[in-house]
Amino acid sequence: MLRFFKTTPPTALLGLFIILSVAIMGVFAPFLAPYGETEVVGAAYMPWDSVHLLGTDNLGRDMLSRVIYGARNTVGLALLTTAIAFTVGATLGIYAALKGGWVDQVVSRAVDVLMAVPPLILALMLLAIVGPSIPNMVLVIAVIYVAPVFRLARASSMNIVVLDFVQAARLRGEGNLWLISREILPNITSTLVAEFGLRFCFVFLFIAALSFLGLGIQPPTADWGSMVKENATLITFGDITPLIPAAAIAVLTIGINFVVDWMLHKASGLKD
């Protein structure tokens, strides 16, 4: 354990610490938060004091409690979305690499189209069609991020499918599910894990931006993006409270980037 602390660079340790704190905050939100998520506890825009450490928001809800609950909602939804995008994208990618032919062609061209349109614009257009709500937002962002995951999974499994052990498993008569999960997936896991961290950051920023625009997580659910928007007027009075959820977003993203950098560095086997 001590060795781990000595050999790991300080930036990665900091990143791990940030991720752990946010995770604990999210999981134990109901126990940590002094007030309820949507509980109105006083007048609107009360300044910081000993009862409400960060004051209250535009509807008189405790700001600190909402920041804590926000960790659960924003980060939780970003994790869910990234997980969906990875499950679908990786499965499709490996399957396309395995099968080749028209399956590969059709999915690859569809992915090309998805990637030719700027993600935020695509998301806005799709949300206009299905209507803004939490499940719709998760699905729309997941669909958009299936595209890059598919490309990565396809490209990295292309090198694996030609190897002998895959051929052997095929000749044994193993089904597609076995080939994908037992033969190819274990060999591209490390690539996918690092990518997961990076994609999670993008998805997380994306959800925050959509919620900020009022088209993502809907009130009264506490979320870091919409909290900035709801309380933005305070900034014109020189109050930094609305910047706290925004800073939380920034800190978590930087923390994850530190950890991903360290993992990539370790995986590449470079010595300093």
């Binding site: 349109v117 700027p118 935020l120 614009i121 069609i129 931006a209 933005a232 009075f237």
Partner: protein, 318 residues
Amino acid sequence: MSGIQKLVLRRIGLGIVTLFIVSLLIFIGVELLPSDLAQEILGQAATPETVAAFRRELGLDQPAVIRYLEWVAGVFQGDFGVSLANRRDVAELVAPRLKNTMFLAGYAAAIAVPVAVTLGILAALFRNSIFDRLANVFALSSISLPEFFVAYVLILLFAVNIPLFPSLARIDDATPFIEALYRTFLPALTLILVVIAHMMRMTRAAIINVLAEPYIEMARLKGVPRYKVILRHALPNALPPIINVVAINLAYLIVGVVVVEVVFVYPGLGQLLVDAVAKRDFPVVQAVGLFFAATYISLNILADVLSILSNPRLRAKA
């Protein structure tokens, strides 16, 4: 026709096809809506007669193929239909905002591109120095910060604490040019900070990549001064990736304005799009979405074509 022309035409053709598929997807998406669009927009209180009239107005009583073809034909004639929210002509609604968005993106690009390329060259020239490290940290953090965070910090610093600039970027046709530049300084600065890091890093990487080539060593051994090695020998050969990243960032500037426009209440296309999505005003969403997609796709094509043209080896291969 020479090989290179064929390559360029092929790339443009692919872009147009992509754009058509995107327009078709948007159209089919509206089509696949589970509930009746007219009913949903009008609400449950609407009488069957109003719903029927509204459906007729939307053209929902005609087959989908005809409606799509009519819409595409309209687009080619500059007719994007009528807004569902306020019955105004979509083209009329979009035109002034398009001008504003282009103004803001152009303003940001005019400053960001030269600054980013210069900083990138300096970082390559003094690599591993304090300057390079600082630039690196700045680049990493600017990628991690949400745009609205940067925007609000700038407002707090330069509009509230030190009241130099207005926090709302309201401009109209009557605003004089200099005044418009002043009022939109903070949104432009936000965009500049967001795009500069990526361009700078890529410029640095492209130049350092070239610096490993034997002809650079040769130039050094001849005793050419360091800045000259970079400007005369390295930069021209590092141009294709730099042009590429500049074009991609220009595309990002035009599209990435959405959040910044909302923060600064700037009357641009992005804000129009967000409002239209919230109101589910499809003709406006389709028109603005199509415009953004078209700009993004064409700038990406431009990036590809320019990098082919600026590299003699790629030119020969084509």
